[in-house]
């Protein structure tokens, strides 16, 4: 008996060890690449931000504490100024662009979900620009809005507007408008498809039930459509927000001579100061800027997740049905209250 027992134990231990070895073998390629190319650079970034660091000249490297961070808030420094200016322009653009890139896809998805004849073709064409690279988007829109008479839009209007010229906050509104148009054209597709998938997935019975209770179209949208799209909205908002905080391609490809070098987003700022050997001695400072910017991105994305109640969305349909039943009485009596799908309070039960 005892021998049997020990034999079994040993076998179990052996199989455990084998499983551990196997998992190590399977995980190691991913882990090695991840550590080398993702983890170490980020850790180094934190380390550099407390140092005076020059990758080309190791002798001057030294630990300088919080000096880089203090420099970021020293507004007399021209580099600091350009960092905060780029930050500001990016934020102003995002405040306009992100809502546009949520609402327009949502409206389009609502229409496509009515399944008009040929909706698959419409869907494909609206999604198509998403696979076009930003440089080609730049070539197309830059030439459409070219500042000379030979630009398409200018020749239509018979004007010679310099669409892409101007300095940030000084007469470059048109440039940002063109960027917005290009962004909408370019990136509506992805959110549009995700929204239409979420819409298609809403159980028909919920709509029918709402209709039976005398719900009009706006009630349907408010009490059935929007609450059921919450997880899709959350994902799209998260992706769009992060994507546009990291704004880079649009301003790089859509500019004119007078503002080609103006840094209008933190990514442009970071890219410029990393790429030249001339700024190599500033590496530590740039890392600190990247961390400040990164923390801001993290903060916004965390707020977004909290607000959308990311963590609790299991049993979506049950929850949706319950919520609907709760809302129904208010529909009947006609005294409508605010549906609290934003707060996610219903999800807790």
């Amino acid at each position: 008996m005892e021998i049997e027992e020990t034999r079994r134990k040993r076998e179990r231990a052996k199989s455990k060890r084998r499983q551990n070895l196997l998992s190590l073998a399977l995980l190691s390629p991913y882990l090695i690449i991840f550590v080398l190319f993702t983890l170490i650079p980020v850790v180094m970034g934190f380390a550099f931000s407390f140092m005076k660091y020059n990758p080309y000249n190791g002798e001057t490297n030294a630990f300088i504490g919080l000096k880089n961070y203090l420099n970021i808030f020293d507004f007399n420094n021209p580099v600091t100024k350009s960092f905060w200016n780029s930050f500001g322009t990016m934020l102003v653009f995002d405040i306009v662009a992100v809502p546009c890139l949520m609402i327009i896809p949502m409206v389009l998805a609502y229409f496509i979900n009515m399944h008009p004849p040929g909706y698959k073709i419409f869907r494909a064409i609206i999604y198509l620009p998403s696979v076009v690279s930003i440089t080609i988007v730049g070539i197309i829109f830059g030439n459409m809005f070219a500042g000379t008479k030979t630009g398409l839009i200018n020749s239509w209007l018979g004007t010679e507007i310099h669409w892409l010229a101007g300095q940030p906050f000084h007469g470059d509104t048109l440039r940002w408008l063109v960027m917005l148009i290009a962004s909408i054209w370019w990136q509506t597709g992805t959110n549009f498809i995700i929204f239409s998938g979420a819409l298609r997935d809403i159980p028909k019975s919920l709509y029918e039930a709402c209709e039976m209770d005398g719900g009009k179209r706006r009630h349907l949208i408010r009490f059935v459509t929007l609450p059921n799209m919450k997880s899709a909205i959350s994902i799209c908002l998260f992706n769009t927000l992060i994507g546009y905080l990291n704004l880079y391609g649009q301003p790089v490809v859509l500019n004119e001579l007078d503002n080609a070098g103006v840094l209008v987003s933190p990514m442009m700022f970071i890219q410029k100061y990393i790429s030249g050997v001339a700024y190599a001695s500033q590496t530590g400072y740039i890392c600190a800027c990247a961390i400040i910017f990164g923390l801001f991105v993290m903060l916004l994305s965390t707020i977004e997740r909290r607000v959308m109640g990311e963590r609790r969305r299991s049993r979506r349909r049950t929850v949706a049905a319950k919520r609907y039943l709760a809302d129904r009485d208010f529909l009947k009596t006609g005294s409508l209250r605010e549906p609290d799908f934003e707060g996610g309070t219903h999800d807790s039960d």
Binding site: L22, S23, P41, F111, S231, V297
Partner: protein, 305 residues
Amino acid sequence: MTATKRRRTKSERTRIREKTVSFIVLLIITILWAFPLVYMLGTSFKSDLDLQLHPDRLFPSSWSEWTLDHYEGFIVRDGAIDNMPLWMLNSLWSTLATVALTVILDLITAYAVVFVEFKGKKIFMKFLLLWMAVPGVIGTAPSFALFATIRNSLRITGLGNYFYIYMWIILPGTTGIFNMLLMRNFFASIPQDIVDSAKSDGAGNAKIFFKIVCPLAKSTMMLIVLFTFTGSWNNLIWPQLLLGSESSYWNTITVALTGYTGGSAWSYLGIAMATSVFALLPIIIIFIITQNKMIDGLATTGIKG
């Protein structure tokens, strides 16, 4: 009297009205959306004279103005191979390598996480989930410093330098956590019974992986392939940084085309458009073949999350 047509019910009427309205709206939107691409295509066939005289037309103003001038010399120019095919090749092989590596890494890692018991699994997954919140921008400057330092200390030059740069373009993109979690979520949804019964029939891990799990994961693989392909093909920031100081032959097509945008470049209209059309062709071909799968796959991400 009885032969009169049945009156449509209210819901039927609403449905027809809905379809008409949405058809009209979407038709207008679709025309707007197709317009820039049509403009690109039309302009690339215009002769230089026509570009100057009729900038307001989408297509050449008369049949005699149609020309292939701007497409000339894309493959062979002045007896030598042109930049264009080289840029395309650079993009193509690096993108394919990224896609293949990503899928393989995601498959084996997700398999280990879901089907193999090991110590520290929970910590590993928690760590990855947390890491998703860390913005990659923090690592950009150190990555570049690391890249330059290693190259200088190993004295990598010539063709070695080319592959070294492309290694740095390809590898960081292969360990995207989102893709890995997508695969893991799919694996976790495979009924445990299937795997258990295969195990009791004596199938080893290799057999389970190749015969059961991989065939089932086809649609998720497809989705990751499409995400990674377009993402990597259109990648601009990081390759631009690495390739910035190198010979222009080494550029990827996306980086190379920045030469036709911004600043003073707006005057080479015909050539810029023809180059765009040429560069867009492979993507459009892949899109036309896979668009149904791509769109359906994308549509489900909102639900899976």
